[in-house]
């Protein structure tokens, strides 16, 4: 469902993504990890058409995002790292806007919007302006928008940030259910526990390059040990150097 070939993105002299090749299939939850500044969010923006690649191609459900932009966007849903949503719309109006924008039939909207608001415990806030929502509520609203138009490919950048434990648990279950129904999920996260539990395959990126890709077992083998994903991640990304600095605390 997502086919990335030779993807390069440069910002002036800086290479944010260096020749990425990746394929994510239907029903798969792919975890995309890496330290800050690795190029994860840049990759997400390239997949969703918010940035233009310097080289390489991205196909979503067979549609080239550079050439068949609208077709690709129609089958894709994005949850960005910062859920900025129109402050002067109410929560229900935002969902209505998304429903219309993605061509969801009115009858389906009438049924689904109240359900989604109820599911994310936003029913009591559905008539309030989004400007009065907390970060977590906005995040839930954006997730609700995605579920309304039921994309075949879901791209998420730190989707659990700001969610309360109950909502985070629900979001995880939603992702698992969607994947079971065949939705392709590409997720960036710093929460290794989530990646460990949810993702079938995990990719680790550093300085624009994918340094490891595979299932948790495969990564464990590559890292030569480590009981959990945190150990594996730190082993692969060289994150142990801080130990010396901690002595100064």
């Amino acid at each position: 469902m997502i086919e990335i070939t030779g993807l390069v993105k440069k910002f002036g002299e800086l290479s944010a993504v260096k020749g990425l090749d990746l394929s994510v299939g239907p029903g798969e939850i792919f975890g995309f990890l890496g330290p800050n500044g690795a190029g994860k969010t840049t990759t997400v923006k390239l997949i969703t058409g918010l940035l233009k690649p310097t080289a390489g191609t991205i196909k979503v459900c067979g549609f080239d995002i550079a050439k068949q932009t609208l077709e690709a966007k129609r089958v894709m849903g994005l949850v960005p790292d910062e859920p900025f949503v129109y402050p002067k719309l109410t929560g229900a109006e935002y969902l209505r806007f998304i429903g219309e924008l993605y061509g969801v039939p009115l009858a389906h909207q009438k049924k689904r919007i109240p359900e989604l608001l109820e599911m994310f415990e936003l029913s009591g806030w559905s008539g309030e302006l989004v400007e009065s929502y907390s970060h977590g509520m906005r995040q839930k609203l954006v997730l609700g928008g995605i579920l309304l138009h039921e994309p075949k490919v879901l791209v998420l950048d730190e989707p659990m940030v700001g969610l309360d434990p109950k909502s985070a648990r629900m979001a995880k279950e939603i992702l698992t259910t969607l994947a079971a129904r065949g939705t392709c999920i590409f997720m960036c996260t710093h929460v290794l526990e989530i990646a460990e539990k949810l993702c079938g395959r995990i990719g680790i990126m550093i300085k624009g390059e994918m340094i490891a890709l595979g299932t948790l077992e495969e990564l464990r083998g590559k890292a030569r040990g480590g009981s959990d994903l945190e150990d594996i991640f730190l082993s692969l990304t060289g994150g142990q150097e801080y130990s010396a600095l901690l002595k100064h605390l």
Partner: protein, 553 residues
């Protein structure tokens, strides 16, 4: 701790200047020079006015100082109103307040830091406009640079007092009604006051002061001229101090100057003391979002009936959001005031000569076109940038930049065309323009309005600024400058082209046979089509291409 807060300001300013790119240096130099040019123009205008008033026998000097006292009173009022709006956003809604409230700095220190910022931003521009007036006054009265130095020194407590009144009002109101709803009420009230002040100044017919026949009437009011203008207000104290200094009465000067400084110190000191008790409750309440529950209705969108595709959906969203933003209401009040004042000014023009009426009606294309361009700068040009940080929603959605731009254009066309019709048709009616002139001016004004809307959307897409929070930053950006310059050039080109048929119309009226030259008419029509085709298409296409390749970072 206050010195540390002030240091961060100085440091930020220094860093901003130090990191200017050559392009920014060039741009800021151009804007700086344009500002200086504007001030020089004001100086010339004031000099001409004051020099004229000074020559009026017997009451010349009285007139000068009466005008000064009225100007100071107006300045006082404008700074108070400006301070209402500025203090609200700076003292209660600055982006760095969340940080400042967390660090171990006393509330009083934060308030002083923020109130000084608010006082500066609400008064510097209004104060600066007084500089060319005072320089003109010095030239007319032969006063030295000591007078200017005294003026500068006295302006500090004067502006501080005026702005502190606005700050005090905001602090008390936010304490009594600690809600973000109060912010909306203050916005609307301030805008209404501004519109009223603007209207009152114009409807008081200040042009009578420089007409000799009106001056005879002024002479009858000699007592009025000699009477102080609002003697209990600081505007009179600063005027009296300047009058005393100009006539060598140093004791009186010192008395009024001391009064100004003492009042400023006492008032601002009292304000800081009061804020220590009231600020936090107001700040805390102002952060709460307005809870205005609206019914959840899921019915077909009204706009989708007449605007097919994404444009209808986008139009609906824009309309709903636009009318909920109180900042837009305030602009609408100002526009209504502007229209009234515009038509009042047309009505006040001498209309006893039919040729002059025709000419004014024709030139109204330019002045009304300029008003439309200025409104476009406020509403149409920023409309794409105002998508702000929510731009990702559209950028990731199956909607093209072309559709977004089309919707923005339609959203601007209706109100702008209405305003153009009101300005054009009413002016033609008031001027009793003949049919040819009326149709020519109204028709071309409508076309100009549509082109200006297309240019506004086009340039707005060419220079998008999705990360700025303040609409004024969008208006005063390079893109805004380019848009405005392009509009003025376009309006000028239109007037040049249309002056040919207007000239032939005049010739026909003066009885010239074969006044209508068909070759010249064809050339004129061709030139008009080229000018308008250029205005409609070039910025639009450039903007569309820029928006298509825009990257969301």
């Amino acid at each position: 701790m206050l010195s540390l807060l002030l240091w961060r300001r100085a440091r930020s300013l220094r860093n901003r200047v130090a990191f200017f790119t050559p392009y920014e240096w060039a741009r800021n130099s151009v804007f700086g020079l344009a500002g200086l040019g504007l001030l020089y123009g004001l100086y010339c205008g004031f000099l001409r006015l004051l020099a004229y008033l000074a020559t009026v026998p017997l009451i010349g000097n009285l007139l000068l100082w009466k005008l000064t006292s009225m100007l100071m009173l107006t300045t006082l009022g404008m700074v108070v109103i400006s301070s209402l709006l500025t203090s609200l956003s700076i003292i209660y809604y600055s982006y760095d307040l969340k940080f400042l409230m967390k660090v171990p700095v006393s509330l009083t220190t934060i308030f002083i830091d923020k109130s000084l910022e608010s006082i500066f931003f609400s008064s510097w521009m209004i104060g600066l406009i007084l500089v060319p007036y005072v320089l003109a006054m010095m030239k007319v009265n032969g006063l030295g640079w000591g007078f200017f130095a005294a003026f500068v020194v006295l302006m500090a407590p004067f502006l501080l007092l005026a702005a502190a009144v606005g700050v005090a009002f905001t602090v008390v109101v936010l304490y009594l009604f600690p809600s973000s709803r109060t912010r909306d009420v203050i916005w609307v009230m301030s805008s209404l006051s501004m519109t009223m002040v603007y209207g009152l100044v114009r409807f008081s017919k200040p042009e009578r002061l420089i007409r000799p026949d009106a001056l005879r009437v002024v002479a009858d009011y000699l007592n009025f001229l000699q009477a102080p203008t609002a003697p209990v207000l600081p505007s009179w104290w600063i005027t009296k101090a300047l009058i005393s200094l100009s006539s060598g009465q140093y004791e009186a000067f010192a008395t009024y100057a001391a009064l100004l400084f003492a009042a400023a110190a006492v008032f601002y000191g009292g304000l800081v003391w009061l804020a220590g008790k009231l600020y936090f409750q107001g700040y805390s309440g102002a952060q709460e979002g307005p809870l205005r529950r609206r019914p959840v209705v899921i019915e077909p969108l009204p706009e989708a009936r007449w605007l097919p595709g994404a444009a209808g959906i986008l139009f609906w969203r824009e309309r709903v959001a636009f009318f909920r933003d109180v900042k837009h209401w305030s602009q609408i009040f100002l526009i209504l005031g502007l229209i009234f004042v515009y038509l009042f000014s047309i009505q006040r023009m001498p209309t006893d000569n039919a040729d002059i009426r025709r000419l004014v009606s024709f030139l109204n294309i330019g002045t009304a076109g300029f008003v439309i361009a200025a409104l476009g700068l406020r509403f149409t040009f920023p409309s794409i940038s105002l998508e702000g940080k929510s731009w990702w929603v559209l950028a990731a959605a199956p909607v093209t930049p072309r559709e977004i731009m089309r919707q923005k254009l339609v959203f601007s066309l209706v109100p702008m065309s209405t305003i153009a019709l009101i300005l054009g048709a009413s002016a033609n009616h008031l001027l009793r323009a003949d049919a040819f002139t009326a149709y020519l001016s109204l028709g071309s004004l409508l076309v100009i309005t549509w082109a200006i809307c297309a240019m506004g959307v086009g340039f707005g897409a060419l220079f998008p600024m999705f990360t700025v929070e303040n609409i004024h930053q969008i208006e005063s950006s390079v893109g805004g400058f380019v848009y405005m310059a392009a509009c003025l050039f376009y309006i000028g080109a239109n007037i040049m082209v249309l002056s040919w048929p207007m000239k032939m119309h005049f010739e026909e009226l003066y009885g010239r046979t074969h006044a209508w030259d068909s070759h010249l008419m064809a050339l004129c029509a061709g030139a008009w089509i080229v000018v308008n085709a250029f205005a409609f298409t070039v910025p639009w296409l450039l903007g569309r291409r820029a928006l298509e390749s825009y990257e969301v970072h």
